[in-house]
């Protein structure tokens, strides 16, 4: 790394004319822009098309401040970053909740509005002519010259920002972002406020875009509406894809390639951009994680990393199991269009109780779980945990109150290790533990569910049954008072089901209440004390296991006949 930097500086110092230095400086500003876009697109997974326009906004703000407020020369760069962050905060608060394609369109519309303003608000922006005569940067009252000082400033700012980003994302933050991006509902279910995380990434990314734009204005000396136009955005996106979506080294690589492509592909004349676009396309298809990832893989081949040596196990203190009150569901109704999935459903789960929910397909079991955990909100009725009403509370807030859950299709990031997948759930805890502490406790829960031997494997490499166990361990990492499981036995062999039931029984004996949805009455019999039967969205039976098992209505609904075959 250091060698590369030294070589580049030496090369510039010996052979570099002012044009080469200027190009290298612009590469630095682009690297800042791409680093910001990595936060938005790579880490938060938000396909924003406004990053280019926010860069342009930063350039205009820096130019306007330096031209119209000579006293503020030292403030141009902070002002540029701040302006972009302000606009992003307003835009983000409004449009970040939209789904991918709508979000992309909404940010594209915002970008077009910024561009229109740049072209047409002539008194402010100089219209199509732009704002010429932007001076060099003033730092702490000293005007920096163009050339080397600006080059050093741009790349120092990038290095500082890249260091900060890498540091912030190294621990639980990065893991939480990975889960929030790939499986948002799973992230919510362990208490991660996905919306807040995305918002933070979006605004931080905008800050870097604004800073990059401000620098650009000082380097080039003139700001025209081009800086807010589509090609800036497309270039930024392409550089991100080529360099790498998440590794900070990828930001530098992609930016250097983007700015130097016209030079290096000069033999192609005005066709270099075609080649660059095709290169980006090839990267999306062949190496979607970019050059940085290819280099990292090559390095791991040459110098294999030391395996994780720590095997620390940390049991959570016993008193930490929350003593919340009972879960009460009262007269809850939920309809999807014309289909009434839940109709006047009332039930309760006492602290430390183990309750099973059974019913035929489409009887509303999963909907009930989704209403309790805040994935869906009930149309009518009320859900309470102790004295807290869960009504209108987002899923992550309910998880923080102590209700954790698993999903029918295990929601785990394929590339995350089992240990980290479980440790991620400590992110929402206050105070947030370090990753090492979280991993040690994760190992404890993996032991409890019996899969600690898989700790170092990638989640994607596990069979379905074991993935579900990872989810159980992750839910336990929330230290819940109530654990809600959605068909935990589905897809497991008979032997695995019996083992899972026993492990759930053991967990229950240490104080965690269980709410288990499943089809398999024998599985439920092995891990719960009370059974609730749903049919077409109504509770048709609720009582001790044996009573419900013999209930004629239950037999009729669930087995289609009323005979004694169930007991045999």
């Amino acid at each position: 790394m250091a060698i590369v930097v030294v070589a580049a500086v030496a090369w510039l110092a010996t052979t570099g004319d002012s044009y080469a230095i200027r190009l290298a400086t612009l590469a630095g500003t682009q690297a800042l822009l791409v680093l910001g876009y990595q936060l938005v697109f790579g880490h938060a997974g938000a396909l924003s098309l406004a990053q280019g326009a926010l860069f342009g906004l930063g350039a205009y703000v820096a130019a306007m401040v330096s031209l119209q407020a000579p006293w503020g020369l030292s403030l141009t760069l902070p002002a540029a970053a701040l302006a972009a962050m302000l606009v992003a905060a307003v835009v983000g608060a409004i449009v970040l909740r939209l789904e991918t394609h709508y979000f992309a369109l909404a940010t594209l519309a915002v970008a077009q509005l910024i561009h229109l303003a740049a072209v047409n608000l002539e008194t402010l922006t100089g219209g199509a002519n732009g704002l010429p005569g932007v001076p060099a940067v003033t730092l702490a009252g000293v005007a920096l010259g163009r050339g080397w000082p600006m080059l050093v400033l741009a790349w120092s700012l990038f290095a500082a920002a890249a260091w900060a980003v890498a540091r912030v994302l190294a621990g639980l933050n990065g893991l939480a972002l990975d889960l929030a991006r790939e499986h948002p509902s799973a992230a919510q279910s362990v208490g991660i406020d996905v919306g807040a995380l995305r918002f933070t990434a979006f605004v931080a990314g905008a800050g870097l875009a604004g800073l990059a734009g401000g620098l650009h204005a000082h380097v080039v000396g003139v700001v025209s509406p081009d800086v807010t136009d589509m090609p800036v955005m497309v270039g930024c996106l392409i550089a991100t894809v080529i360099g790498g979506r998440r590794a900070v080294a990828g930001a530098a690589l992609g930016a250097i390639l983007l700015t130097h492509a016209p030079e290096w592909f000069r033999f192609l004349e005005n066709r270099h951009l075609i080649a660059f676009g095709l290169l980006a396309l090839a990267m999306v298809i062949v190496a979607p994680n970019g050059l940085a990832d290819l280099l990292a893989t090559a390095r791991q081949r040459l110098w294999p990393p030391q395996p994780e040596t720590s095997n620390a196990v940390l049991a959570p203190p016993a008193h930490i199991i929350r003593q919340a009150g009972a879960l009460r569901v009262a007269h809850v109704g939920k309809a999807f269009g014309g289909v009434r999935a839940l109709h006047d459903v009332s039930l309760s789960v006492a602290p430390g109780e183990a309750v099973g929910v059974i019913g035929p397909n489409g009887s509303g079991k999963t909907t009930l779980l989704n209403v309790v955990t805040g994935v869906l909100s009930a149309d009518e009725g009320e859900v309470r945990l102790g004295t807290d009403s869960l009504q209108r509370k987002p899923a992550f807030a309910i998880a923080r109150l102590g209700i954790a859950r698993t999903f029918q299709q295990a929601e785990l990031s394929a590339d995350t290790t089992v240990l980290d997948a479980v440790a991620t759930a400590a992110f929402a805890r206050a105070p947030r533990p370090t990753r090492a502490v979280a991993r040690a406790e994760a190992r404890h829960w993996l032991m409890r569910v019996g899969i600690v031997d898989a700790a170092a494997l990638r989640c994607g490499a596990l069979p379905a049954g074991r993935r579900r166990l990872v989810e159980v361990a992750r839910a336990l990492m929330v230290r819940p008072c109530l654990l809600a499981l959605d068909e935990p036995g589905a897809g497991l062999s008979r032997g695995e089901r019996i083992e899972l039931a026993q492990r759930l029984r053991t967990l229950h004996s240490s104080g965690t209440a269980l709410l288990v949805v499943d089809h398999d009455i024998d599985f439920l019999a092995a891990c719960v004390d009370r059974l609730i039967c749903l049919e077409r969205g109504r509770v048709i039976a609720d009582g001790p296991l044996q009573t419900v098992r013999r209930d004629p209505q239950v037999r009729q609904a669930y087995f289609g006949r009323d005979d004694a075959a169930v007991d045999s």
């Binding site: 509005l113 999306v284 979607p288």
Partner: protein
């Protein structure tokens, strides 16, 4: 009583809006067909429109160079074929290798493709705007005392025929039924033995043809230039969002609404205001009715 002149102006304005809307509808139709089939946005869709215009201009120049002066209508089938091939190219590079990846992969790939198309057009066609040949040449027609340009009328007729043809294809043929099955659930359709990928590629080809047709039709009044792709793509994108994501009639209606909005606001205020207000209206719609103006509220089931 509306004065005579005003009435004439209003009729002309509405015909122009309708013609623009018909061309936007062609663009939006292909956009939505691909959206439904591939489940992702084709960001290069606007560049297929632009390439249709480029094809029309280039072919007209070549034929004129050979000493043939043919009416513009004759060029249209050729343009559609060329643009269909472009659609095939987009499918081969932007969809096929990424068919099992999340939709954002195709989105990003087609952004790169769009840049390639735009740069190719700049390099080989030139950056200056040029005019495509008129489809129906001649002096304005006088209908009921109102002078109407032949080009807008031809545009409305041709676009109307093309849209009706696509509808017949979707509703009346076995391929259309299969296509709708793929649009609803690609994996399910595959399980039923439908060659889904082939139909998706077909949708790209059809979308390319429709986009190229729109490009050739619009190229006379609104010029052809290498950088105009994203603008058309944005119109189709907005039409699809306003009309209810994935709804074909919604997108057509959305396209007409956008054209009407643009034409009227441009006439009353200015073209800049028309653009700005369109984006603001879009943001407002996305906020208050994310299911689109004509979309139904569909609850999600886990």
């Amino acid at each position: 009583m509306v004065p005579y002149n005003r009435r004439m102006l209003t009729v002309q304005l509405l015909i122009n809006a309708l013609a623009l809307g018909a061309a936007y509808a062609l663009v939006a139709l292909g956009f939505v067909l691909v959206l439904n089939a591939a489940g992702a946005v084709n960001f290069a869709h606007g560049d297929m429109v632009m390439l249709g215009g480029v094809a029309a201009v280039t072919m007209a120049a070549m034929l004129a160079g050979a000493g043939w002066r043919l009416p513009g209508v004759v060029l249209l089938p050729l343009v559609v074929m060329v643009a269909g091939l472009v659609g095939l190219g987009v499918a081969a590079l932007g969809f096929w290798p990424l068919r099992d990846k999340p939709p954002s992969a195709m989105f990003v790939a087609t952004i790169a493709l769009a840049a390639v198309f735009e740069q190719s057009a700049t390099a080989f066609f030139g950056p200056e705007p040029r005019t495509a040949p008129p489809v129906w040449d001649g002096a304005p027609l006088m209908i009921g005392g109102v002078a109407l340009g032949r080009q807008p009328i031809a545009l409305i007729i041709i676009a109307g025929l093309a849209i009706a043809g696509v509808y017949a294809l979707l509703e009346r043929t076995q391929a259309g039924r299969r296509f709708r099955a793929v649009a609803q659930d690609r994996d399910m359709a595959r399980a039923l033995g439908i060659r889904a990928v082939r139909l998706v590629v077909g949708a790209f080809v059809l979308a390319g043809g429709l986009a190229g047709l729109a490009g050739a039709l619009l190229g006379h009044q609104f010029f052809v230039s290498a950088g105009q792709g994203p603008g058309y793509m944005l119109k189709a994108y907005i039409a699809a969002a306003v009309g209810g994501w994935g709804s074909v009639p919604g997108a057509l209606l959305g396209a007409l609404l956008i054209a009407l909005f643009e034409t009227l606001v441009s006439a009353v205020l200015s073209a800049v205001w028309a653009q700005a207000l369109l984006y603001l209206a879009l943001l407002a719609i996305l906020l208050w009715r994310p299911q689109g103006l004509f979309g139904e509220v569909v609850g999600r089931r886990a």
